[in-house]
């Protein structure tokens, strides 16, 4: 099998690792002063730990885990707003399973379901629309969550609902965009990042041009990467080579899936249905300009915010999750920014575990805390807890 050879061959992996080692040496990076490479996508975080790539790569590279996990950056107040909608007697609230256990200030969707709210897990927004067709006397709301990868699916579903003239289907839109938080992180004086491994499936939709500012304005390399272990290793090599050669460009390692122009049909649907919000709140990162979208006026009839008078800016919101008593002592914000590793948090692995998550980073398998807990927690804590706590 061609791809088995290309992406799994341990001999190839060794060759790439050796090349990474040489390129890292050229940069002058050391284990004490490592290159800080952020993998933006939570799927990449998961794969890096699943395959132990952090252990295989030289100690002079530090993986910094980015904010690319939608449930991890969802503010608690948005979960509260989900509950407000879901608890209405006429509503069937539908969601991807990932969001069920994310805690809000009044608990999670899972807990609301246990209390009697009609909350159903779906695989696709199309399932929610189908439910609306089958149960016309109920209001079916779909919790639209996710980055640019998922936006076309909800946009196309809303367009289909509009074509059918459906009146009992709406979208609670919480879609967010990848480039704005990257700009925010680059503008943060406390952050030092040397390069990026860019998201694969977000880029399949938006293409590579939206990252150009990272290379042009901030002088940092970004390489769009696939999800195989060798994809990730090759991408890291491409990032490190750029640094070693003093280049900063947007490169595409995942060209077999990611066209440089993205997917025009997907982008057209997104453009037709959504428009940018002035700002959107990210857990741990605060409000970021133009980082989320809402539904355009033309689709107001399918907008759950308008339909139920609930939504962003309508409910009382704390500006930072740190203000909320539930999260006292947690360091989710610093972890989501990549400023500290999960084990620097006193709740990590003690009060906060995948079974009893306090923060969303422990809920999703793509969250840095869950990844560390599953694959690296014990090792990492034993080795590094002291030094990490000392410097942070």
């Amino acid at each position: 099998m061609k791809y088995a050879d290309e992406f799994r061959d341990p001999v190839k992996a060794k060759a790439v690792l050796a090349a990474i080692e040489r390129a890292v040496a050229e940069t002058g990076a050391t284990p004490q002063e490592p290159l800080r490479v952020m993998e933006i996508c939570g799927g990449h975080t998961h794969a890096i730990f699943r395959y132990g790539l952090d252990k295989l790569t030289p100690a002079a590279i530090e993986f910094v885990h980015g904010p690319g996990c939608p449930v991890c950056v969802l503010p608690m107040t948005r979960v509260d707003e989900c509950l407000e909608i879901a608890e209405r007697p006429e509503v069937i609230f539908t969601t991807f399973g990932d969001a069920m256990r994310v805690p809000g200030t009044r608990g999670s969707l899972m807990q609301a379901k246990a209390r009697g709210a009609d909350i159903r897990m779906v695989y696709s927004p199309l399932d929610a629309l189908e439910l609306a067709r089958r149960i016309p006397e109920r209001e079916v709301v779909f919790f639209g969550l996710g980055f640019e990868t998922t936006m076309p699916s909800t946009a196309l579903t809303v367009q289909q609902a509009a074509r059918e003239g459906r009146t009992n289907f709406s979208l609670f839109c919480n879609h967010i965009l990848v480039p704005p938080p990257i700009r925010a992180l680059l503008d943060d004086p406390d952050m030092r990042l040397d390069g990026f491994v860019g998201p694969g499936h977000v880029s399949m939709v938006i293409g590579t041009a939206p990252y150009d500012f990272i290379a042009r304005d901030y002088g940092k390399p970004l390489v769009v990467a696939g999800f195989e272990p060798l994809d990730l290793l090759q991408s890291v090599l491409m990032v490190v080579r750029q640094i070693a050669e003093g280049r900063a460009e947007v490169e595409n390692q995942y060209a077999r899936v990611v066209p440089s122009g993205g997917n025009p049909a997907a982008l057209a649907a997104v453009e037709a249905v959504f428009e940018p919000r002035d700002a959107f709140e990210w857990r741990g990162l605060g409000e970021i300009d133009k980082s989320g979208v809402r539904m355009r006026e033309a689709y107001a009839a399918f907008d759950a915010e308008a339909k139920f008078g609930v939504g962003y800016g309508a409910a009382r919101r704390n500006s930072r999750d740190a203000d909320l008593p539930e999260l006292a002592g947690c360091r989710c914000g610093e972890v989501v920014k990549g400023m500290v590793k999960p084990w620097a948090c006193p709740k990590f692995g003690t009060a906060c575990t995948p079974e009893t998550p306090l923060g969303a980073l422990m809920v999703s398998s793509e969250g840095a805390c869950a990844a560390y807990h599953l694959y690296a927690g014990v090792r990492a804590r034993a080795v590094d807890a002291e030094s990490e706590r000392a410097v942070s």
């Binding site: 099998m1 061609k2 791809y3 088995a4 992406f7 799994r8 996508c41 939570g42 799927g43 998961h46 794969a47 699943r50 690319g68 996990c69 939608p70 449930v71 991807f96 399973g97 990932d98 159903r120 897990m121 779906v122 695989y123 696709s124 927004p125 199309l126 399932d127 189908e130 439910l131 089958r134 149960i135 969550l145 996710g146 980055f147 990868t149 998922t150 076309p152 699916s153 196309l156 289909q160 998201p199 694969g200 499936h201 977000v202 399949m204 939709v205 999800f227 195989e228 077999r256 899936v257 997917n263 049909a265 997907a266 649907a269 999703s364 793509e366």
Partner: protein, 98 residues
């Protein structure tokens, strides 16, 4: 969240709404083809492999890559999880009144 799982398009269910049926590791599921349909219309898509994300075919991929991606997802434990989500959704809809 941005996971894509390979599936093979086995039939066109409704050319007007661009709905087709994909086979994902033996499980069949209706998917929307709007993002992969070219100028030739949906009929030419039967037999093609696509990356499926939350019920939408998002990208055409070649068969060798599809097999390898599936294997990687199996190793990550994510293929079964995704197929389980598809099955659970079908079941939930099956219980809803027609």
């Amino acid at each position: 969240m941005c996971l894509g799982i390979p599936g093979q398009i086995v039939e066109i269910a409704d050319a007007e709404t661009l709905m087709g049926v994909v086979d994902v590791s033996g499980v069949r599921r209706k998917v929307n083809l709007a993002c992969v349909v070219g100028e030739g219309g949906p009929d030419g898509l039967v037999g093609e492999w696509v990356l499926v994300h939350v019920g939408f075919a998002m990208s055409r991929i070649d068969p060798a890559e599809a097999a390898e991606t599936l294997r990687a997802l199996e190793q990550l434990g994510e293929a079964m999880e995704e197929i389980e989500k598809i099955r659970a959704a079908e079941e939930m809809l099956g219980e809803a009144a027609p």
